[in-house]
């Protein structure tokens, strides 16, 4: 057991920003818009740092895929307590089409290279809401997965994960190495304190290209068009259930 945990952090548009669709409908406006670490990734970092503070693991490595700016996101993870960072350089068109499949291939390759015992990711990113990367990474590595984790307990080489599912909570026991994805109630991320922000300056961020990991980042998907959700139309009030059924039939809904 290397005691090493890999945490994936994604740079996304800040949750408070009003998203605007680009005039050419190819995507959303990102230039000059405030970005921050995906909130679920923050929770993932916090969990990893907590495990290190409990001395259950030895090293936390923060990973992010993207252009130069993702280094900011990695630095935030370092300021929260991660030990070092890995910046996987992906830019331009490749970055625009980067999705869960490519990222999970990258993470799988890194996990093998770094001999990680555990990968903790956010359950999904707030920009694409895919909720796929964790699951795909586990599948590629053929590792067990504990997704939507609201509680994680480490015991030697086993993990007890309490998962949030539709019907309630499910508790599973999985063997490490494993992939865990963080859900909202797993923890409350700490504020990066000023001393840690300054210390983070000295921590190392390694640069690596997807090709170095043997990963092809070309996408199998093509975005045809991006639109704003339709404006919500006014509703219609009806007097009786018969009226309701009548109206639904008229609208071709039933």
């Amino acid at each position: 057991m290397s005691g090493r945990v890999l945490v994936g952090v994604k740079r996304v548009i800040d949750y408070a920003v009003k998203i605007r669709v680009k005039p050419d409908h190819t995507g959303v406006v990102t230039d000059g818009v405030k970005h921050s670490m995906n909130p679920f990734c923050e929770i993932a970092v916090e969990e990893a740092v907590k495990l290190k503070e409990k001395k259950l693991i030895k090293e936390v490595v923060a990973v992010s895929c993207g252009p130069q700016q993702v280094q900011e996101t990695i630095r935030t993870a370092l300021a929260m307590g991660a030990d070092r960072g890995i910046h996987v350089e992906v830019s331009g068109k490749d970055y625009e089409t980067l999705g869960p499949l490519q990222v999970s291939k990258i993470l799988a390759a890194l996990a093998k290279k770094e001999q990680a015992d555990l990968i903790i990711l956010g359950k999904q990113a707030i920009d694409d809401d895919c909720n796929q990367t964790g699951q795909m990474t586990a599948a590629l590595l053929d590792w067990p997965q504990g997704t939507f984790a609201s509680e994680v307990t480490l015991d030697a080489d086993k993990l007890k994960v309490v998962r949030e599912i539709d019907g309630g909570l499910e508790t599973i026991k999985i063997k490490m190495p494993a992939v865990v994805t963080a859900d909202l109630r797993l923890n409350t991320p700490r504020y990066a304190t000023l001393p840690n922000i300054m210390k983070a300056k000295k921590k190392k961020i390694a640069n690596v290209k997807p090709a170095d990991l043997g990963v092809d980042v070309s996408s199998r998907l093509e975005v045809l068009k991006v639109d704003e959700p339709p404006q919500r139309q006014a509703g219609v009030k009806v007097e009786t259930v018969d009226d309701l059924v009548g109206k639904l039939k008229e609208a071709g809904r039933i």
Partner: protein
């Protein structure tokens, strides 16, 4: 049957989406409150004249604390006339924001003043003036002299816990009979053995009703008024210290301001900061940081007010078009924004010189003078464009109008700033 099945599936899908959004909103409690997401900031990141990546990381972290621990409660605290200083200062102290430019041995970060200013600027995102002012007293107004000139023992007893946020400090300089004329304060500290016996009183003491200690300026000898004063670390729980009243003010309402009396208060002589008799000089030095800090703080708030005014006037219509479309409105806001940028440039220039060890008294005084006057102009102009709504207590612009009026009065009135500038311009009548 089919209808039921379809409705069931539909409601399940709806619930799932609702669940997702509800879950997201729960975490970010102030999503509605934190009004306008950035338009101007991100572009400045790379080529800022004063700030580095660390400054911005610091601001982002502080912003989170403001959004989660402070802004959701501001309206309540404004109404109550007080905010929980010990609680908020402890949160800030834990995160390292109260001792940014203070010595590392006492829990500070030993960074230069540009970092303190980054904190001051970020605090301008708080939706009132009272709380940043109170934080400023704790972090940058009552402690510079102690940090620079105090004995190791005094620093351990007072500076360290203040930086940690464990104790609250207030600054005792102004009196009922002496504000602008600091040299004419009457509070006396008479030496009796190895103690000072203090009699007198202080006025306009921010944090006064909650403070654990006061950085007190008192007359410690009979001599020329600029050479007979000392700064003393005074515990507020000593017998003889009376908090006479909490002052009811038109603005800065969430900050408690006290009138304090001293009735034969005994304090050890070792509580004097630095050299006896140097108090006036030390206080004048403290004022420079206080003034720059105030300017940095109010700049962010002014920008916020302009932005909120743009948002409001964009959606509010008069005569069939948004108020913002009327030229006088968008032109006036452009004028105000221009003045904000000019003031910001002056502030950054003064700071850059200050951290290199220069005396920036003239520039700091100019910046403070301009900040006070611009805030009044801006508050007044923006409030006008809010119409009737601007006159209500529910909006930020009216609170800013009240809070910012203090800028031209406290920490050195406009007229005092003008005197200082004239001194440097050598235009004052010779005695």
């Amino acid at each position: 049957m089919a209808l039921q099945a379809k409705l069931l599936r539909f409601s399940l899908a709806l619930n799932r989406n609702l669940h997702k959004t509800v879950v997201c909103n729960k975490r970010h409690l102030s999503e509605k409150a934190s009004s306008n997401p950035k338009a101007s900031v991100s572009t400045e990141n790379t080529d800022h004249v004063l700030y580095t990546e660390e400054h911005f990381a610091l601001k982002a972290s502080l912003r989170k604390i403001i959004d989660q621990e402070i802004n959701p409660y501001v309206d309540k605290w404004e109404e109550e006339g007080q905010f929980p200083a010990h609680k908020i200062f402890k949160i800030l102290g834990n995160a390292g924001f109260l001792g940014v430019n203070k010595p590392v041995e006492y829990g500070g970060l030993g960074l230069d003043f540009s970092y303190s200013l980054a904190v001051a600027e970020e605090l301008g995102n708080i939706n009132c003036g009272g709380i940043p002012m109170a934080i400023g007293v704790q972090s940058d107004m009552a402690t510079p002299a102690l940090a620079r000139f105090g004995s190791a023992e005094l620093k351990r007893e007072f500076l360290q816990p203040t930086i940690m946020g464990d104790i609250v400090v207030c600054l005792g300089v102004s009196e009922t009979g002496a504000g602008s004329d600091v040299a004419s304060i009457k509070t006396k500290a008479v030496r009796k053995g190895d103690e000072f016996v203090i009699n007198g009183g202080k006025m306009w003491t921010t944090n006064g009703t909650q403070a654990d200690w006061m950085c007190l300026l008192a007359n410690t000898s009979d001599g020329p008024p600029h050479k007979n004063k000392s700064l003393i670390c005074l515990p507020m729980n000593l017998p003889g210290v009376h908090i006479a009243r909490k002052i009811d003010k038109i603005g800065m309402r969430s900050s408690d301001t006290a009138e304090v009396f001293f009735d034969d208060v005994r304090v050890p002589c070792k509580n004097v900061i630095g050299q006896e008799g140097m108090g006036f000089t030390y206080q004048m030095l403290q004022f420079q940081e206080e003034r720059l800090w105030g300017v940095a703080n109010i700049l962010t708030t002014m920008e916020k007010v302009v932005q909120e005014t743009i948002n409001y006037t964009r959606q509010r219509k008069i005569f069939n078009q948004p108020i913002l479309h009327h030229q006088v409105v968008h032109f006036r806001l452009a004028e105000l924004q221009t003045e904000i940028e000019l003031l910001r440039s002056l502030l950054h220039r003064a700071t850059a010189l200050y951290i290199k060890g220069n005396d920036v008294t003239k520039l700091a005084s100019m910046a403070k003078l301009k900040a006070g006057r611009l805030a009044r102009e801006l508050g007044d102009s923006c409030l006008q464009y809010w119409g009737g709504m601007g006159f209500t207590s529910d909006v930020l612009v009216s609170r800013f109008y009240r809070d910012s009026r203090l800028m031209s009065i406290g920490a050195g009135a406009d007229e005092v700033m003008l005197s200082i500038i004239c001194k440097y311009m050598d235009t004052l009548p010779k005695k």
